[in-house]
Amino acid sequence: MRVELVDIHKHYGPVKANDGISLSLEPGEIHGILGENGAGKSTLMKILSGFAAMTSGAILLNGRPTAFKNTATAARLGIGMLYQDPLDFLNLSVLDNFMLGHTGRLRLHRKLIRPHFTSHAQSFHFHLSPDAAVKSLTVGERQQLELLRLLALGVEVLILDEPTTGISAEQRELLYAALRRLAAAGKSVVLVSHKLEDVEALCDRVTVLRGGRVSGTTMRPFDTQALLAMMFGRPPVMPPRIVHIPGQEVLKLDRVSAQGGRAGLMECTARIHENEVVGLAGLEGSGQEAFLRAAGGITPPERGSVYLGGRDMCGRDYHDFRSGGAVFVPAARLEEALIPGLSIADHVALQADPPPFFLQPAAAAQIASAKIADFRIKGRPGTAVDELSGGNQQRLLLSFLPPNPRLLLLENPTRGLDVESVNWVWQYIRGYSQRGTGVVFSSAELDEILLVADRILVFFNGRIIKDAAASETDAHDLGRAIAGKLSS
């Protein structure tokens, strides 16, 4: 099926997420959509998959204008989307999930569908047991399941949003093979990514978005520098690493056990020092999240003690940790870190210290404007935070950090950000560690941890199984530790 997007506009208030995008998707082609955060990729795909309504423009399927009311309409017309976080039902079995969305008879025929599912999975070399509970699967396996489900529904156009985030190298190869096979069978595949390597390995054609517009289209073979120039206007450079000399101890965890994540935190002992940047590695939910939240006073430990600057923080809440100099920034920006519905200026007003009893909107707007300029946020003081893109939300959060905290606890601070934003974020955070702040962060990207951290703690099943200086380890070593295998 040939899909044409003609002059698509999508406005969220004053923000133009899509500002006149036109492109076409040919059958049998793997088409990459590349762009930094806030470039408009996700918005465009939400429109194509029927998840969001466009402000103006047209979608032509095989030359015929089509209006999508919702995802169900899009799915019936043969357009399916694989989201970054697979939208499955964790308590159901693999087979039940697979059957979701199958229309037709009221009664489900598990016996009929089971062999169908198994042969389908095998043909793609996906090893999925039909009876396993979905919650026991890894992100990569859940993605495979969702892919099979969409194919069984008969999609002709398959959209994948950042599909290689959080999956293993082996799963990535399987996914690549599956996508190539689908394209060869005449389906259109759309790969949305900010990772050049994915796009270069897989795509036949790439459309680059910047600032809600198409900034260029190229065919294979790709010129990396040209792609970067289309994405950013100028190629980004990663700032050189500075080796810090750790100072005094700012945080000590003494045999701390706490709830959180899949594994929780078990009997964890660790020390963090001034000037130090510590990266937490491990599979998602292996204890990094619980570590950061216990260290920040968000979840009280079940056992063990947390010392902040030498003071026992037993029984203290986040407010005490905050006045003790610890700042926690959660990964889920809109769900946990910002307040949907409030504007940038409102967020500024909330933090005024000491807070005036009467609100001073003019003063708050002025401070907000200054932050917007300093942190290059695309928005205005009156813009509601939910209208900002992920990268801009992260910049806003960083602009809220106090000037001289003792300890920064950052949960996945660069999740979903493009290269340029990532560099910017780390440059900014390094400024803190140079001024003496101890920085602890978690990340799903090993490369990032190796590049940024001075010291790395590897979590496995709720325990720290490796504690090494970044200069004394490498990706291979860390990879083994993450999988629970310690090199001798």
Binding site: G13, Y318, H319, E336, I339, P340, A349, Q351, F357
Partner: protein, 355 residues
């Protein structure tokens, strides 16, 4: 609930006025359907509803008497809705306001003297009574994890039981306990009624200042911003240095305090004693007023007036048309359901199809 910051106030107002007209059309259609089904002549019923509430100054004065407690309860409820609490216990808080007022005024009866002193004391006591009752629900919510709806409903029953116990027990009329309530207070222990208006100006002033105070606190002070922040994202609010538990408790105290004043006015300006049905259900109706007004302070006064008209006007229905007066309640309920429907519809329309 909130307007987008970039659209001008004028267009918001226009849209809301438009929505109200759409709603009214919706509700009239539904009401007419109910009337037709029950065999009532719709036009005549509407006529009697209108004439029964606005047909004469005497009738309108009854409307205003209902408008005052409705407005007070609605003002208090804005605080709890703003922080995301469903304070259904407002009914019991109103009742306890009446009880505390009666308690102080009974002391005043035994020690004759300056009436205004006892009235002021009764006002303070009713604020405390309502706030204590709300505080119990707030405490159970923040410290015990008990949903405020369950706590509030339970406390409503307790408050009603307390009233009955007082009327038939410790505060019974000399000689005989009666459903007609406690002994009537002497004139100095009631609010003065302006003879020309047939309304207590003090009560009207109290309700008007409650509106102004609420609008000011929620719109122009850090209290309003903080309540909204916690209501929208309690977890993030903690990271911004706020204490959601404390703020929830404060919001409950405001709601209880305003409801308590409403209860006080029921005693001091309407019944001049404690009766079993002292609340006239104004607490529950206040919840409907706030929802119909879409949590907007500017719409509270007109919507409360409309509800008061329906309440007073529907008294005419049994007399004139042999209809049950509960038809007024049917209309009120239909209004609120229609409003919630329209708001839900607008929400899905605004955000596209996003969940």
């Amino acid at each position: 609930m909130t307007a987008t910051p970039n659209s001008s106030t004028g267009s918001i107002l226009f849209r809301q006025v438009l929505e109200i007209f759409v709603l009214l059309g919706f509700v009239s259609a539904f009401t007419i359907l109910v009337m037709v089904l029950t065999g009532a002549p719709p036009l005549a019923a509407c006529y009697h509803l209108f004439m029964g509430s606005l047909g004469s100054w005497v009738k309108f004065s009854h409307v205003v008497k209902a408008w005052i407690p409705l407005t007070l309860c609605a003002c208090g409820l804005l605080f709890t809705f703003r922080i995301g609490l469903w304070n259904i216990g407002v009914e019991g808080q109103l009742v306890m306001g009446s009880v505390f007022a009666t308690w102080v005024l009974r002391m005043g009866m035994e020690r004759p003297g300056d009436g205004s002193f006892w009235l002021t004391a009764a006002l303070a006591a009713s604020v405390i009574g309502g706030a204590v009752w709300a505080g119990i629900a707030g405490f159970l919510k923040t410290k015990g994890g008990v949903n405020e709806i369950f706590a509030g409903l339970g406390l409503n029953f307790v408050a009603q039981a307390v009233v009955l116990w007082l009327i038939f027990g410790p505060w019974k009329q000399p000689g005989v306990a009666s459903m007609s309530g406690t002994e009537t207070f002497p004139v100095p222990l009631g609010l003065q009624v302006a003879p020309a208006l047939r309304i207590s100006t003090a009560a009207l002033l109290i309700a008007a200042s409650a509106l102004v105070l609420t609008g000011f606190l929620l719109g122009c002070t850090r209290v309003g911003l903080r309540l909204k922040a916690v209501g929208s994202n309690p977890f993030a609010a903690v990271l911004f240095g706020l204490r959601p538990d404390l703020l929830m408790f404060v919001a409950m105290l405001f709601a209880g305090g305003f409801a308590g004043i409403a209860g006080n006015l029921q005693v001091t300006s309407i019944y001049h004693r404690l009766i079993p049905s002292i609340s006239s259900n104004y607490g529950y109706l206040g919840l409907l007023v706030v929802m119909l007004a879409n949590y907007n302070i500017w719409l509270i006064a007109p919507v409360a007036l409309f509800f008061a008209c329906l309440n007073v006007g529907s008294i005419q229905l049994p007399m004139m048309l042999q209809l049950d007066s509960s038809l007024g309640g049917v209309i009120q309920g239909a209004l609120v359901l229609a409003t919630l429907g329209v708001h839900a519809w607008r929400k899905t329309k605004n955000t596209g199809n996003e969940p």
